[in-house]
Amino acid sequence: MMKELERFLLVLTENVDRNARQVLGEGNLKTHKASIIPLDRIPELLGGAEKLVVNVYMRILGEFTGSILLIFSKESALSLLEFIDKGKGRVITVKEISEIESISRTLAGAYLDTIASLMKKRIFLSPPASSFDMANSVVDYVMINFAQETDKVFCIENEIECNEFKINFFTFLVHDSRSLDMIKEAMGQAI
């Protein structure tokens, strides 16, 4: 089972960079490290349970279902706002959160296109919802939704690189049990 999931992750990250290039314009999206991790390791990866993070959450709907979370540290979120020319400060207001939601939806779209073509399924994203708070409060939200279906998530470390900007963020893909079977089937055929 793990073999199929790891293969899925590998193919996903190989292709997502190309799709992201089309949506980012002059910036490059690099995927540095991809792994399958237990849900409760997320806060540690983000820098600790009380680390302040911006989390943009979207549901994957259609023939393949799950959720996608893009998580930025406060510092990365501020760099992202500067990168898209939407502010240069130290405070993230409601208006700025909405800008981050918007670019996150674009970035998530690159993942979605890749998944759709890999799985040969018709899928789409829900409107984004966001929170700006402690890393652990993000995890308990994910656990409430998915703890009965899975205790693991796909974790991808990303970097947007453009001129002097280097913006790091995490993408977490959470699948439900039906989608897990689909991945297994699709990757099993590919191996």
């Binding site: 009380e50 402690m134 939200y141």
Partner: protein, 315 residues
């Protein structure tokens, strides 16, 4: 020496004085503390879902409100606590995202309800709660005193109708937070002893009415330190005119020197009353060591305390 006992997600721990139980970053989950003041035995649970009976996977009873509370009572009694003396405090159950039609958008409320029902069924009085809202909370139970301390992070704005106390050597952290709140399209009213020039590089002065505390200045932007009723009236007026304002009070040591200690404590309390009945918030910057321990404790009971980038308060 006290030991810090961490309580993870879907976990429950029991400890005895002087140990401290802590659960980090409660979102929609609930933190439940039970405490017996005589034996100084406490328990803390971090529950994820309302009821064990509604689920297929019953492997971890610490995950659910009902089963976790029952288990906690059992463990506390086994360690020497008296069941009849147990009291409960709860925190969490926030709406972290504004999503409709999604399980976690209402599970926080269902968790709160399940916790209250179980406590009622078990005959344990709920003596304090800090639930709902949209912020993550760290919950800490000190078994020596039974105090439950909540910590939330400052994200640029401050909760309305609340006063905040910042004890600091110089008014730098408080001024930074005041400035951050102003950047959310908020108007400010500031009473200070610092020279006006100090603010020009730190604040958007178009958003702030600044008044300098001075006995001698005749400027329209100055106010006599003994004119406490006028300041109180200005705060009242400002809160009325600005639905969403912030008040910053600095120079407490100077005000104490001019008015005496007790008058200023009463003055801060009166300002706090004004804020509580309005939509404004207030930051009071206090120099370290200027107020006696007993009075500081009293102010801390009335106001929320800011430590670095977090708000800390007792429930």
């Amino acid at each position: 020496m006290s030991k810090l006992v961490k309580v993870g997600i879907a976990d429950m721990r029991v400890a005895k004085s002087p140990d401290v139980l802590i659960s980090y970053g409660l979102g929609s989950c609930i933190g439940i503390s039970l405490y017996d003041a005589r034996s100084k035995i406490g328990g803390l649970a971090h529950i994820l879902l309302p009821k064990i009976e509604n689920t297929k996977n019953k492997e971890n009873p610490r995950k659910f409100a009902d089963s976790s509370i029952k288990l906690m009572i059992k463990e506390m009694v086994a360690r020497g606590a008296e069941r009849a003396r147990l009291v409960a405090k709860i925190a969490g159950g926030a709406h972290m995202f504004s999503l409709s039609n999604h399980i976690a958008s209402y599970v926080g409320d269902r968790n709160i309800e399940a916790v209250k029902t179980t406590l009622r069924d078990e005959g344990i009085p709920l003596i304090a709660e800090d639930t709902g809202g949209n912020m993550g909370r760290t919950m800490r139970l000190e078994t020596e005193t039974g105090n439950v301390i909540i910590k939330t992070l400052i994200k640029g704005d401050l909760e309305r109708s609340v006063s905040y106390l910042v004890t600091e050597p110089k008014p730098s952290n408080s001024l930074r937070i005041f400035s951050d709140v102003l950047s959310n399209d908020v108007k400010g009213l500031c009473f200070t002893r610092m020279p006006m020039e100090h603010f020009s590089s730190r604040l958007d002065l178009s958003k702030v009415r600044l008044y300098w505390l001075s006995r001698h200045s005749k400027s329209e932007n100055s106010i006599h330190p003994k004119d406490l009723p006028k300041m109180l009236l200005m705060v009242k007026q400002f809160s009325k005119e600005n639905e969403n304002g912030i008040i910053f009070l600095e120079g407490i040591d100077y005000l104490i020197f001019q008015n005496g200690y007790k008058s200023i404590i009463k003055f801060i309390q009166a300002l706090n009353d004004q804020v509580m009945f309005s939509n404004s918030r207030m930051i009071v910057s206090l120099s370290e060591g200027i107020v006696e321990k007993q009075e500081l404790a009293m102010l801390e009971r009335e106001m929320k305390v800011i430590v670095n980038d977090a708000v800390v308060y007792r429930i």
